[in-house]
């Protein structure tokens, strides 16, 4: 599961309109495929996908969660071959339904708000009063989490397995657990972390 998936599947509060840096990494939300649909017209056959397909919309989180979070546009990943929903062959841009309506309706039928599919926690960064929300279930480990947060807050966050560099230039990630204690992220296995984390905070490395 790549970075693209992690970054893209976070809560709607990150999207590429807020973070131009993400542009290079996120699949672009455009679904039309030119030559394949024309060949469809000429050949009269069913539409065949070409490699330029991108299936993501910013609001189409339900698809992300259900299909295992990513279909990379530049190479057909293994995921796309294992999920055989009919929507695979469809264009995101056709029929012409606005994303808002599409995702609301599909979200309803898939129980989008079901507890098991997401775990949103708040993340604050030292010095910034407004926090953001992040879906931890959308990440497969600490690396993905740290990368997403680094992009979200546009700063360097040290990985837990690096040697701790105590410097004011860098930040580290801490979390509050169920007992109210603040811990450095990375000290427990990821799965256990998910069960104890309440919220996250990015603090300066020299404060730790």
């Amino acid at each position: 599961m790549g970075l693209q998936a992690a970054a893209h599947s976070s809560s709607s509060s990150i999207d590429s309109s807020n973070h131009p840096d993400l542009d290079d990494l996120l699949p672009k939300p455009s679904g039309s495929s030119s030559s394949s649909s024309l060949s469809h017209k000429i050949n009269g056959g069913t539409n065949s996908r070409n490699s330029r397909r991108s299936t993501h919309t910013r609001t189409d989180l339900s698809t992300d969660l259900r299909l295992g979070l990513s279909i990379s546009p530049s190479h057909h990943s293994d995921l796309s071959s294992t999920t055989s929903s009919p929507r695979e062959e469809a264009l995101v841009s056709w029929p012409p339904i606005k994303s808002i309506l599409r995702s609301t309706l599909s979200g309803k039928s898939e129980n989008y708000h079901h507890q098991n599919s997401s775990l949103f926690v708040k993340v604050y960064m030292e010095g910034i009063p407004i926090g953001r929300k992040l879906n931890l279930f959308a990440h497969d480990g600490y690396d993905a989490l740290i990368t997403t947060l680094s992009l979200m807050f546009k700063t360097t966050i040290l990985c837990p397995d690096n040697n701790h560099v105590h410097s004011e230039k860098y930040y580290v990630l801490t979390y509050e657990d169920q007992e109210g204690d603040w811990m450095l992220v990375g000290d427990v296995p990821w799965e256990i972390f998910l069960t104890t984390v309440k919220r996250l905070k990015i603090t300066r490395a020299d404060r730790c």
């Binding site: 807020n18 939300p29 039309s32 539409n47 469809a90 012409p96 339904i97 994303s99 309506l101 609301t104």
Partner: protein, 622 residues
């Protein structure tokens, strides 16, 4: 629901205006590439020179105040220089149909006393993920220019613009008398921006967010309204996908005695809705939020008597919401059905049986949006009762292509037979016949907007197997008032020949997966003199078709062609022939190395100020 009918003055379909053009009357109005001199813009700043007919000038200004329609004002401004000046001084509502057609500076230089501004940005196909993100349409430059030029600005209406929180902050700080903010299909801002507007715009009457994407910044914007009584008349936030502080909302409603329009988002439960309705029985427009119980509260809400709350709201004429409808509660709305002119069920997955008892009472209904879950049978019930229906939109619950589909030509024809006053229809379906479309063309001669979306690409008449040419041909032939048309299904060049021959009033045309050759596009470009907005995707039209419209492009607001057969050179030829046209070639997938023979997206539009200065990497201007 979409644009409020009362703002029809600003609707796209009303646009018949020539370009915002400072050229005075003794030059040709048609910018036919002869190089309209930009020096004429300097004459618009010379207001101070004294001239003899001061009295007549004053009379003129006073008379012009009564001229409100922008088409009339544009005409008046062309009479002579003094009329031009007087009109520029008295225009209070500014409409910018394409934010890149004119620079903010030019607009604010010409019109100095504007109170209301309406700006449209991205082309409509951007709604369907055809346009890459960050293409443009930034509100920033506009709000900066207006902050200096229009201190008395009261109203801003934006459609498909990119608006940041900083833009909203600047707006809130710059206009002390600001009254109305309407954002339709906008994005780029969040609850922080809303908070600034709520707290600083003390005269705010209208805050309408319609189909916009609002970022959840965790800011409680509802709390930011002033503590005293507010002037709020309309608050629409049904598209805002984050929790609101209900206690604060309730207090806000209580201290907003003028509140007539309230659209709640899906985080408001039916129990909370009940509380609010009791506080605001004067509402005329209500968006009901989720219309179901909040999660922990299922038992309590079942005892809820919403019927009396609806019965107490005797003025409700427009009802929407139902975002997560708990159908058992639907009978609560019966008391208001008889008065409804506007009902939006487009988020309510209900069956025909569930619809019938509601619709049976809606005799006055003029606008109805619904999901196809009601099936042909539900549509028949609509046809039986809603004799005043003017606008119908039927959306698909399941927008896939290769499924059976619950609505078809049967419901469509029933509507045409029952609702003879129909003016506007948007209909998604899997199956259609030419017969049914022809029937509608005969039964509903008042049709102004006809948008039929047969979801399967290239799908023929499912009874005869023929193309849908004859059906659409009948529409353009028989519906003499038609100004907006969207076609679908299997269509040959013949369909376009009909459109070119009979569609003399058509201003907006949407084409997808249709036509056989360049001739189709040529028929349209040569035959439709009123064409303003043309959006085409995935159709086999190439460079020679594009060339056939050279005589007309300056009269259009824009042309969009994606996934067609246009080459870069073909687009360049157009750019060379028409210097006042901005020809944008857009790559739809940034990561793709440019190898294709054909252009992904062509988006071109006339502009008085040439190329924009904010083009992203994936856009080339030829």
């Amino acid at each position: 629901m979409g644009e409020d009918p009362s703002s029809s003055q600003m609707s796209e379909d009303d646009d018949r205006s020539p370009p915002l053009d400072p050229i005075s009357s003794n030059k040709a109005r048609n910018c036919s590439g002869s190089g309209c001199p930009s020096s004429s813009s300097s004459s618009s700043t010379d207001y101070i020179i004294p001239y003899p007919d001061q009295v007549l000038e004053n009379v003129l200004e006073n008379v012009l105040c009564f001229l409100t329609a922008r088409q009339d004002r544009n005409a008046a401004s062309l009479v002579c220089k003094s009329w031009y000046r007087a009109e520029a001084l008295t225009r209070s509502e500014l409409f910018i149909g394409n934010c890149y057609a004119v620079s903010p500076r030019r607009a604010t230089d010409r019109f100095s006393r504007v109170r209301a501004v309406s700006i449209k940005g991205k082309p409509r196909f951007a709604d369907f993920n055809l346009m890459p993100a960050h293409w443009g349409a930034h509100f920033g430059p506009w709000v900066s220019a207006m902050a200096k030029a229009y201190p008395w600005l009261e109203k801003v209406y934006l459609k498909r613009m990119s608006v940041t929180d900083d833009d909203l902050a600047l707006l809130a700080e710059s206009f002390p008398g600001f009254k109305e903010l309407v954002l339709v299909c906008c994005d780029g801002f969040g609850t922080s921006g809303l908070a600034v507007v709520a707290s600083k715009c003390r005269q705010l009457r209208v805050l309408d967010l319609i189909e916009s994407e609002v970022i959840d910044d965790d800011v409680d914007w509802i709390c930011c309204f002033p503590e005293s009584q507010t002037c709020l008349e309309s608050l629409m936030f049904d598209c805002v996908e984050c929790h609101v502080n209900f206690e604060a909302l309730e207090r806000l409603v209580i201290r907003s005695p003028s509140l007539k329009k309230l659209r709640l988002n899906r985080y408001v439960s039916i129990g909370q809705l009940h509380h609010l309705m009791v506080r605001a029985p004067q509402l005329t427009h209500l968006g009901t939020g989720s219309f179901s119980s909040s999660e922990g509260n299922a038992q309590g809400d079942q005892e809820l008597d919403c019927v009396s709350a609806f019965a107490a709201c005797k003025s409700i004429v427009c009802l929407s919401g139902f975002k997560e409808i708990f159908v058992d509660q639907l009978p609560a709305i019966y008391p208001v059905c008889a008065n409804l002119t506007n009902l939006n069920f487009s988020y309510a997955n209900i069956s025909a049986e569930q619809l019938k008892p509601v619709i049976r009472n809606c005799h006055k209904l003029q606008t109805f949006w619904v999901l196809d879950s009601v099936c042909d049978e539900g549509l028949k019930a609509v046809a039986a009762t809603c004799k005043e229906l003017r606008e119908l939109r039927v959306f698909p619950v399941d927008p896939r292509e290769d499924i059976e589909g619950p609505v078809s030509e049967i419901g469509f024809q029933a509507i045409s037979e029952g609702c003879r006053k129909l003016q506007s229809i948007l209909y998604f379906c899997q199956r259609m016949t030419n017969e049914a479309v022809k029937a509608m063309s005969r039964n509903c001669p008042d049709l102004v907007v006809f948008r039929l979306c047969i979801m399967g690409r290239h799908r023929p008449d499912h009874v005869t197997g023929e193309s849908m040419d004859e059906g659409f041909g009948a529409i353009v032939m028989n519906c003499k008032k038609l100004t907006r048309l969207a076609v679908s299904g299997l269509l040959t060049d013949q369909a376009f020949s009909y459109i070119g021959q009979y569609g003399k009033l058509v201003r907006t045309l949407s084409v997808a997966f249709a036509g056989d050759s360049d001739m189709a596009l040529q028929y349209v470009l040569e035959g439709c003199p009123k064409l303003q907005k043309l959006e085409i995707r995935d159709s086999p039209f190439g460079d020679s078709a594009l060339r056939s419209g050279l005589h007309h492009y300056y009269n259009m607001r824009f042309l969009w062609m994606s996934s067609c057969l246009l080459t870069r050179q073909g687009c360049r030829d157009i750019a060379r022939a028409l210097p006042r046209l901005v020809v944008e070639v857009i790559k739809s997938d940034q990561q793709q190395v440019e190898t294709g023979e054909y252009v992904d997206i062509l988006y071109m539009y006339r502009s008085l100020d040439g190329q924009r200065d904010d083009i992203p990497k994936f856009v080339d201007i030829l």
